[in-house]
């Protein structure tokens, strides 16, 4: 084999090896900023009549789900803004909020048609079939006992078509807004009938400067894509 042929052979080998490497280095990227990872998911019970159940109670506290032995990683500086913004949208949709400094919450709940709860996860969760910490906020409810945050009556992602209908993976700082039919609460079976639910994944994670903007955008989007609430 001549020198020229040898050089040519190694040149070809070099091409074969270097071309895929060069190509791989140009592979397209994905998410670069926190706001590109925001997801808003909503769903509702289409058998529920929202128009005739427009009195609601919403606690003035966001429940942070913190695993035992861990500290709360999500700060509460956005809590008031979140609750206020939700209340504003509910008012726009025609709902009346029951709130009082003098009347016990349990009485207000009994009087309301629906209860709106807001839950934020302080830990990353993944698994199958339930929302982490579900019902944690209901600790005040007399005689209530929760079995590991399980929503027996939860309509989980029916017909979703995205490939993860029965699984979940929530980042730290994910927020859940849930509307519960007060009349349908089954104390014996411990079933909370969720009539509307919004999930905002990973909203409060990180310390991005635009978190407030992301919070506002996500909550607005929850209601924007839930026009059935505006009956």
């Amino acid at each position: 084999m001549s020198l020229l042929q040898s050089v040519r052979r190694y040149f070809i080998y070099l091409f074969f090896v270097s071309t895929p490497v060069l190509f791989f280095s140009c592979y397209p990227g994905g998410i670069e900023y926190y706001n590109e990872s925001d997801i808003v998911v909503t769903q509702y019970d289409d058998n529920f009549n929202f128009a005739s159940n427009q009195n609601y109670f919403m606690p003035d506290t966001i429940h942070h789900v913190v695993e035992e032995g861990l500290e709360d990683e999500v700060d509460r500086s956005y809590d008031d803004e979140v609750l206020a913004r939700i209340a504003t949208h509910m008012a726009t949709a025609g709902y009346t909020r029951f709130e009082s400094d003098e009347i016990a919450d349990s009485v207000l709940v009994d009087s309301a048609n629906v209860v709106l709860t807001v839950v934020v996860t302080s830990t990353e969760y993944s698994g199958i079939g339930y929302i982490p910490g579900g019902g944690g906020w209901w600790g005040w409810y007399p005689g209530w006992g929760w079995g590991g945050g399980y929503y027996p009556g939860y309509p989980w992602y029916p017909g979703y078509g995205w490939g993860y209908p029965y699984t979940y993976s929530y980042s730290t700082g994910s927020m859940f807004i849930e509307m519960i039919d007060e009349d349908g609460i089954d104390h014996f079976e411990e079933v909370l009938p969720v009539t509307w639910q919004a999930t905002i994944n990973g909203l409060l994670s990180g310390d991005a400067e635009n978190t407030q903007w992301r919070v506002d955008r996500a909550i607005d989007q929850c209601f924007e894509q839930s026009q059935y609430l505006f009956n």
Partner: protein
């Protein structure tokens, strides 16, 4: 890929780098068609083809080919609703298709003894197509093997000793499977041809 390397080694070792063996290394620009275009409409500027062939007559060659064509597109912050209207999801979508054809084919060369040699080619084989969409921390990915084929037209222009320019247009078609739709695109390639 291992199969390609093995076949390539076999072809290369048959006659060394003698006049009957050629290799092509090309850069591909691919235009999506059909279902591929429905999923990602943007033209792909990330693609390559590696090919090793051997002439069995003066005009006719057989070869093996491996390509990698990546399609990519981002969508704005948009809302998608399930067919029953119950569930909606809003987010920014990132979509990818990675197509990896591994084919065997034939090439018929016109004017094979001249510096400028147009050719017609075609072949068939396996197409591994990975279709993926990301939204937030979620992703859905289908990695499906298809059976597919390609016709191709192009030319070789020898500008130096045993080195030439290879330009072609190739239509890659991966047939639908039980789990996936068909995919198709036209790849325009330019690169180097080694061999007489």
């Amino acid at each position: 890929m291992k199969i390609l390397i093995a076949l390539s080694a076999l072809l290369l070792s048959a006659n060394g780098f003698g006049q009957f063996v050629y290799t092509d290394v090309t850069y591909d620009v691919s235009v999506p068609l059909g279902n591929t275009s429905d999923f990602i409409s943007k033209t792909s500027f990330r693609g390559m083809t590696l090919r090793v062939g051997r002439f069995v007559t003066d005009d006719l060659a057989v070869d093996v080919r491996f390509s990698w064509n990546t399609f990519y597109e981002t969508k704005d912050f948009e809302t998608y609703t399930s067919e029953d209207g119950i569930s909606s999801v809003t987010g920014k979508q990132f979509k990818y298709i990675n197509s990896f054809p591994l084919t065997a084919g034939v090439r018929y060369v016109l004017n094979s003894s001249s510096d400028f040699s147009p050719y017609f080619a075609g072949g068939l084989g396996a197409y591994k197509i990975n279709e993926r969409r990301d939204m937030g921390i979620y992703y859905v990915e289908d990695m499906i093997w298809h059976f597919g084929f390609y016709p191709e037209i192009g030319f070789i222009y020898d500008f130096s000793y045993s080195v030439g320019l290879n330009v072609y247009a190739r239509y890659d078609y991966a047939l639908k499977t039980q789990d996936a739709t068909a995919h198709s695109y036209i790849a325009f390639g330019v690169g180097l041809h080694f061999g007489d």
